[in-house]
């Protein structure tokens, strides 16, 4: 079965430190991968879509097919980055979600 794994339920880093939120997928084809973010008491928002190769709010994510990973990175964390982050894979209208990582940025 296809899976998306976010191994860390909670990640806590200091402001200004680099951040890496891990996401691994199990799919043999060309994956369609996304990162969503949910700030406290707000709706889910699309953060990144791998095919767009954009940088949003300083975050980037590179698809590594060899490692089957789509880790989310930011070189310098800011306090407003504290939120829940979800990685998911979309294929044939099925959406396979990771369990989410709660990111806490300490001042």
């Amino acid at each position: 079965a296809q899976r998306v794994t976010q191994p860390e339920k909670l990640l806590s880093v200091f402001k200004g430190a680099p951040v890496e939120l891990k996401c691994n997928y199990s799919y043999s084809g060309s994956p369609e991968l996304f990162w969503y973010v949910q700030y406290s008491r707000q709706r889910l928002q699309l953060l990144l879509r791998h095919i767009s190769r954009e940088s949003i709010k300083g975050f980037t994510a590179d698809l590594n097919k060899g490692e089957t990973s789509f880790h989310l990175k930011k070189p310098f964390a800011q306090e407003e980055d504290s939120a829940m982050y979800y990685c998911y894979h979309e294929e044939n209208y099925q959406l396979i979600w990771g369990a989410g990582t709660k990111l806490i940025i300490k001042p």
């Binding site: 339920k9 709706r43 889910l44 699309l46 959406l95 979600w97 990771g98 369990a99 989410g100």
Partner: protein, 112 residues
């Protein structure tokens, strides 16, 4: 413009009662999705509507769950004979065909 809206924002019900959750998608979006988010469980896909095609119901956890989409717009998710394990945040999203999904604020359901 207006985003996806859901009502009610919060619903408290007693075990065994039926509930209806409503989703108003963005106008013109042909695709509509329902998900639920349970504590520690991440997001779970429930059902997907695309235009006039038969909905993808593969994510519905039991036959107590059903959903309709009337006129290709508003959708209602119905949970019959609610159980405590149904307590979760139910999210609706809409999108143009195979494009980015736009999520509503969710309905927080608590079954006592």
């Amino acid at each position: 413009g207006a985003g996806v809206s859901q009502s009610p924002s919060n619903k408290v019900t007693e075990k065994g009662k039926d509930v209806e959750l409503r989703c108003d998608p963005i106008s013109g979006h042909t695709a509509l999705y329902w998900y639920r988010q349970s504590l520690g469980q991440g997001l779970e896909f429930l059902i997907y509507f695309q235009g006039n095609s038969a909905p993808d119901k593969s994510g519905l956890p039991s036959d107590r769950f059903s959903a309709e989409r009337t006129g290709g717009s508003v959708s209602t998710l119905t949970i019959q004979r609610t159980q405590q394990e149904d307590s979760a945040v139910y999210l609706c999203a809409s999108s143009p065909v195979e494009e980015t999904q736009y999520f509503g604020p969710g309905t927080r359901l608590l079954v006592l």
